[in-house]
Symmetry: C2
Subunit: 218 residues, 2 copies
Amino acid sequence: MLEIKESVFADNEREAQRLREALLRKKIFLLNLMASPGAGKTTLLTRTIEALGNEMRIGVMEADIDSDVDARTVAKTGVKVIQLHTGGMCHLDADMTRQGLEGLGTDDLDLVILENVGNLVCPAEFDTGASKNAMILSVPEGDDKPLKYPLMFSVSDVLIINKMDAIGIFDFDFEVCAQRAKKINPDIRIIPVSAKTGEGIDEWADWLRASVRQWRNG
Amino acid sequence: MLEIKESVFADNEREAQRLREALLRKKIFLLNLMASPGAGKTTLLTRTIEALGNEMRIGVMEADIDSDVDARTVAKTGVKVIQLHTGGMCHLDADMTRQGLEGLGTDDLDLVILENVGNLVCPAEFDTGASKNAMILSVPEGDDKPLKYPLMFSVSDVLIINKMDAIGIFDFDFEVCAQRAKKINPDIRIIPVSAKTGEGIDEWADWLRASVRQWRNG
């Protein structure tokens, strides 16, 4: 458990760039995972550890307002995990992320996954210094979310559409949602999954594996 | 469409109290409706207008980062509606709410519903001056949300648990969720609904009707 404070006066963009370069020198890939509350971040994280845990040394930082529910869930997978309390803040900035990495200890890690605060607004505004940004949109949230939270879609490298197993009972048009996301961010990679059933996890793991390899090769 | 700005220096609590008293003098009930993105705020709003539109004069303020999707949906019901753009801000404060009410025009209204920004963090921190706070938690988000976003549950007078029609396919224990919410806020009223099928809307409309009546009687 680590209590972190926002460095109000830091230039976040500069701090983020500095952190990204430091991570690259150490060959550590930092994934910033963002989503609404309840979209399935922790379940996807657990699936990701199952899929890649044998080939990479993974660490996890769980950002939460003030609980440690998710950190305890992730700890069961056996990977190194640290809980970051934001003290009511709705996002992490680069300096808070750096404090978290120091607390976690990264010398023996290849991949660190930051589970950001459950929120589609604030986390999109602060570069954490991550190597790549991933966001989850879950089917029950609706296919109109790219229209309403465009910044989140524009800063994400990959859009994971989760709870695909429930698509039959919700008014969610996958193609319409994908078009809306691509209109905001033509380069975004879109991967449909069900973290619950395991559907699509291979494709997600392939994307993450390739991104880590590309990063490590500079 | 109205662009609103945050009054950085205002004492929000004082401003909220002043607004609440002014609304009471004019016998206008302001409901602040909060939830995650995609929990069903707009659908519940439409159902509420169907249920109470014949007995009360209703106005709606739609707060959004920068779209007007919801305002256009609500406008189809025939009630007076205004879109508030927060310009990236993750919540409304009392002064922004006051600006919105002035833009909407309240002289001919009994009930104004503010659909706050889709977010379980920031809106909980700012008293808008509302007569009552309502929050929606939807079944797919999970029954652990009271543990993770306790402030939202502590400031809400009523918790609407939406998408009850989907409870069969999600790991959501209604009783566990209700206990967790009551532990944080023993006075919270909990109403299970499906805004999609109409289940539970009568109970919600009864609560809102009684709250408006009690408010108008001082």
